[in-house]
């Protein structure tokens, strides 16, 4: 097999360099936990193995502030915004997309485990060959004329959601030489407070690229990053049609609503 030379703009580091940096940071985070610190459950903002973060993280500490009303409420969405057909990414064109058809479902919950009802959930992803319908994606994998890779839904009464789509392919990127992203689906979520806003990525179990990927590894706690991995769920598989994956998404707080409901229980 012929190997093409790295394209212009690719970082000079090797995978071994990046892996060594990832491991050094993980060891540092583990030492902090051993010394009594909290596990790092969110990605580091300054995470050098992910080269794009180097000039794109604030150097000042974030200013801690109590949310005002603006932050304690959230835009409201509903079926006037989103058609129920938008949750099926396989019916947006005249033909069937290529790839492994999957059903991805789960619940959106707040920090107290309560369902986030009737809120907007958006997703986007590469096609089965690892190519996005985006003009700046130059990966020479084929576009699929029957797959755009964009879906939206409104969560149900119990915070539930379900999308029908195609399993995305892994794809190369320019962070370093021979860098590959594990297969993933991007998710965008709103809670009942704007402070709960979340954009994240869902991965697939057992991906051999996890250990090599500086975006997945930017979360130093192994337990926390494992929460980004959906699980195969045979009960979600649809006979003769699709394989099922389940993935619950847990947002932060919100503190204000949490106190309110406590009073309601008294």
């Amino acid at each position: 097999m012929t190997q093409t030379s790295p394209r212009a703009g690719t970082g000079a580091a090797s995978q071994d360099d990046i892996t060594a940096e990832i491991e050094a940071i993980e060891a540092d985070a583990a030492a902090r936990v051993a010394a009594g610190g909290s596990p790092e459950r969110q990605p580091r903002r300054d995470y050098a193995p992910y080269r794009s973060s180097v000039l794109r993280h604030p150097t000042h500490e974030l200013v801690r502030v109590d949310p005002e009303e603006v932050e304690r409420v959230s835009p409201a969405f509903g079926h006037t915004d989103v058609n129920s057909l938008e949750s099926d990414l396989t019916i947006q064109h005249s033909g069937e997309p290529i790839g492994e058809r999957i059903t991805v479902g789960g619940r959106v919950l707040d920090g107290e485990g309560r369902p986030v009802r009737h809120q907007l959930i958006e997703l986007w992803q590469a096609n089965a060959g690892g190519r996005y319908v985006h003009k700046r994606d130059q990966h020479p994998a084929p576009l699929d004329p029957n797959f755009t890779g964009v879906g939206r839904a409104i969560t149900g009464e119990n915070g539930e959601y379900s999308f029908t789509t195609i399993k995305p392919g892994p794809y190369p990127w320019k962070n370093h030489v021979n860098a590959w992203r594990p297969a993933h689906i991007h998710f965008s979520l709103f809670g009942t407070a704007f402070t709960q806003r979340l954009i994240t990525q869902m991965y697939f179990p057992g991906d051999p690229l996890f250990a090599l990927d500086p975006i997945y590894q930017s979360i130093a706690s192994a337990d926390a990053r494992a929460r980004l991995v959906g699980q195969y769920d045979h009960s979600l598989s649809v006979p003769e049609f699709s394989l099922g994956y389940t993935w619950d998404i847990v947002l932060t707080g919100p503190k204000s609503t949490w106190m309110e409901s406590e009073e309601a229980h008294d």
């Binding site: 969405f77 700046r136 994606d137 932060t252 406590e262």
Partner: protein, 204 residues
């Protein structure tokens, strides 16, 4: 309530484990452009609205280079200081002010929203909540854009009053006067480096 139940409630509400299962953030990446922007997203009101303002700026990185693949979201009260609770925040019917907007930066790192100046609710200083997503930003950044005209209310604002002047100024829009028929406010966002914008953490 029995003692046992009271203990159970206390354990439930004080344990740090309530954060334990939180789903971590991941970068928006570079390829959201065909997915998240929506028709009319940057225009909370039509440009011909008699009190429309232009809310715009440039997003730059630690080298002062424009960030050409950022996505900004704004969320704000209306002119009377009220936040919309109506469904349909991404609908644009030309009449309803939803208070929510979304705008991708241009190749020059610029963004422009057409909106209304938020009004004060009580004695709190009004502001536009701005959320920054971008490739390389592993966890979105929250900031607030205040208005110089409201300076009387700024002295009692919890954020502004806690900051040194040079840092505080990064949160106040530059008033540009009437430009192209609308009041124009410039709010540049410097993610890193000189005059780095103040970013906020609302976590308890």
């Amino acid at each position: 309530m029995t003692d046992l139940a009271a203990v159970a409630v206390a354990v439930q509400t004080t344990t740090p484990q309530r954060h334990a299962l939180q789903t971590p953030s991941q970068t928006i990446g570079p390829f959201y452009g065909y997915a998240l922007p929506f028709e009319g997203g940057p225009d909370l009101v039509p440009g011909y609205h008699s009190r429309a303002i232009r809310f715009h700026g440039t997003v730059t990185d630690g080298a002062g280079e424009p960030i050409l693949d950022a996505l900004l979201e704004i969320w704000q009260a209306d002119e009377s200081g009220v936040l919309s609770r109506e469904l349909g925040s991404i609908d644009r019917d030309g009449f309803t002010f939803t208070g929510f907007g979304r705008c991708a930066t241009t190749i020059a790192g610029n963004y422009t929203f057409t909106t209304l100046k938020p009004g004060a609710a009580g004695t709190a200083a009004p502001y536009i909540l701005v959320t920054v997503f971008a490739r390389g930003v592993t966890h979105h950044l929250f900031t607030r854009a205040y208005f110089a005209e409201d300076s009387a209310l700024h002295a009692t604002d919890a954020v502004l009053s806690s900051l040194p002047v040079d840092r505080r100024n990064t949160l106040i829009c530059v008033s540009e006067g009437i430009v192209g028929g609308a009041e124009s406010y410039r709010f540049d966002i410097r993610v890193q480096g000189e005059n780095e914008t103040v970013f906020l953490n609302f976590d308890d």
